[in-house]
Symmetry: C2
Subunit: 331 residues, 2 copies
DNA sequence: TTGTATGCGTTATCAA
DNA sequence: TTGATAACGCATACAA
């Protein structure tokens, strides 16, 4: 039951350990016959290279660290799915960690990933500070920010066109006749929250309207957050006629609240989400949302990272993926 | 920027490389003074042990492989979240892979995990065959099956009490007066699908009723599957008055179909899901479901695995977690 | 084209 | 209590 090593293969094939290595790694300096022989022996012995030894020697582990906010958030799930698929294609393994949007946890996650000696890191930073990311920069390990970026840090990232998304969502609501449009935004230290808000304001401006500060809420990240914030917001007499939620995840909470308050959507309350996750279409009514492809973002970020790992650093690449309005029945 | 190694620490502290190792690993055979000295030097130099070298030497990587059907399925997301949290607690890293319920992909995933020399594997088998799992057994790597098990294989597993769940769901529908109760089941090679079906039949029997074979569909795993199957099932004249779906994920598709067909839930159609995922409560109406805790299952499976890794094999442990009916408004 | 020898950073076995 | 030394499995510079 012992593991078959290169030595075993070499011995069995009657060549040196090193010739065996060459054969198995497609090195040029080897005769076709010996190569074939070694390959056959390796096959028959069921040889599997020991990645640890290889990694130790070559300083490449073939793994990447993936750090996201919340694994159970469908946006991140889809993101991770896109990453995992792409990674597999490139023969990388994915070490997954969730931060629950906690800064300390983010720091820990980065340290763990570094300790695992991953070849690169894909991270959705909590943005509660920059120390963690600066530590990452200092480590020299290639990394790509996903979905969020730092204005003050010159790093690779792949994000959605959040400002445009915020604009599209808000414009859509305005065009449907809404004026009292609430925004249940994410925490404002997160770039996507800031930019979606900017898009929101931009739409108001474009249409010569004034937004009502009382309808701006921030800090919503989960279904629960959306639910609570919506309950609060929809309780008063001066309630909004429409809500633009930071994410589908948050929007689901809003729909729950609307449901419990017996508000009809979209007649009493229009709702727009963000991300176009799998479940929007199952809501009642189906959720209007701003779509980018989370899986696509994951894939692009992964590809960018692998490029970095292979080819090294050039100028930072900053990708801003297009979004579009996916209109359904909630508006 | 070079990495600090044990050698550097030993050199700096003026001890042998091996004494340094002992100091850092809390070995008993060392004097308190030297230990303290080494520790201080290590600290100041920013020494981080190289896990690869350690793993190579000790044959323990500190990682586990986690293989699930579909990362974007909220059930699996929650499962993974439970695993990741627990793993972190035990100082293990998680290498995640998805199979998309494809058997070849499962085989590949297992091979990759083995190649990564994980200390153990947590897997939701596709159950399209037993070869993959038998390969796993042969490898000697500890593993725990999650959510599904093989009758014919004597392995560790953690599953929900699916039969009871199927019974509870069906009984509930019967008690609400339904007789034409459809089941949109998963593929019947999956143990949980079989057992939920058994529970379904058992409930009919208990109440002296006869199930209608025409209302039994299988093979539903995704939202899309549920949607299509429901459209088909609800189209005819003899349509069911209630549907028991294999999972919340599938139930969401059913709700979508009902919505599009203008069927009122629960008046025209009652719907019960399974798993109690995050979104059931956001549906309209909120989804009645059979709840176990996916995160809890993940945690238990992980704990069991770590126990195996540490203490080695004893008799297989077979855990069947309790379920309960979570009644909401869809029934 | 092939083989020898060395080192990657640890841990473990011995002897001192 | 400590230190020299040998593995762990692989890759590569260099010699043959």
């Amino acid at each position: 039951m012992k593991r078959v090593t290169l030595k075993d293969v070499a011995l069995e094939a009657g060549v040196s350990i090193n010739t065996a290595s060459r054969a198995l790694n497609n090195k040029p300096e080897i005769s076709p016959e010996t190569k074939e022989k070694v390959l056959k022996v390796a096959q028959s012995l069921g040889y599997r290279p020991n990645r640890l030894a290889r990694a130790l020697r070559s300083n490449k582990t073939g793994t990447i660290g993936v750090i996201v906010g919340d694994i159970a958030n469908p946006y991140f799930s889809m993101l991770v799915r896109g990453i995992e698929r792409t990674a597999r294609q490139f023969d990388y393994s994915v070490i997954l960690q969730g931060t629950d949007e906690d800064y300390d946890r983010e720091e820990e996650a980065i340290e763990i990933a570094l300790a695992e000696q991953v070849d690169g890191i894909l991270i959705t930073p909590t943005q509660k500070g920059t120390d963690t990311i600066e530590e990452l920069v200092a480590s020299g390990t290639p990394f790509v920010l996903m979905s969020r970026y730092f204005k003050e840090l010159d790093t690779d990232y792949v994000v959605m066109d959040d400002r445009r998304g915020g604009f599209l969502a808000t414009e859509h609501l305005i065009q449907r006749g809404h004026r009292r449009i609430a925004i249940l935004n994410g925490p404002l230290h997160i770039s996507s929250a800031i930019e979606r808000y900017e898009g929101y304001l931009q739409a108001f401006k474009r249409y010569g309207l004034d937004p009502d500060k009382a309808l701006v809420a921030e800090g919503c990240l989960t279904v629960e957050d959306g639910y609570r914030a919506a309950l609060c917001l929809l309780d008063g007499p001066e309630r909004p006629t429409a809500v633009f939620a930071f994410s589908d995840f948050v929007a689901f909470g809003v729909l729950r609240a609307a449901n419990e308050l017996d508000l009809r959507v979209p007649d009493d309350l229009a709702v727009v989400g963000f991300d176009d996750t799998l479940f929007g279409v199952c809501m009642r009514p189906p959720l209007t949302t701003v779509g980018g492809s989370p899986e696509g973002l994951g894939e692009q970020a992964a590809r960018l990272l692998f490029d970095r790992v292979d080819r090294g650093q050039t100028d930072p690449v900053k990708l801003r993926l297009p979004v579009r309005l996916v209109q359904r029945k909630s508006t």
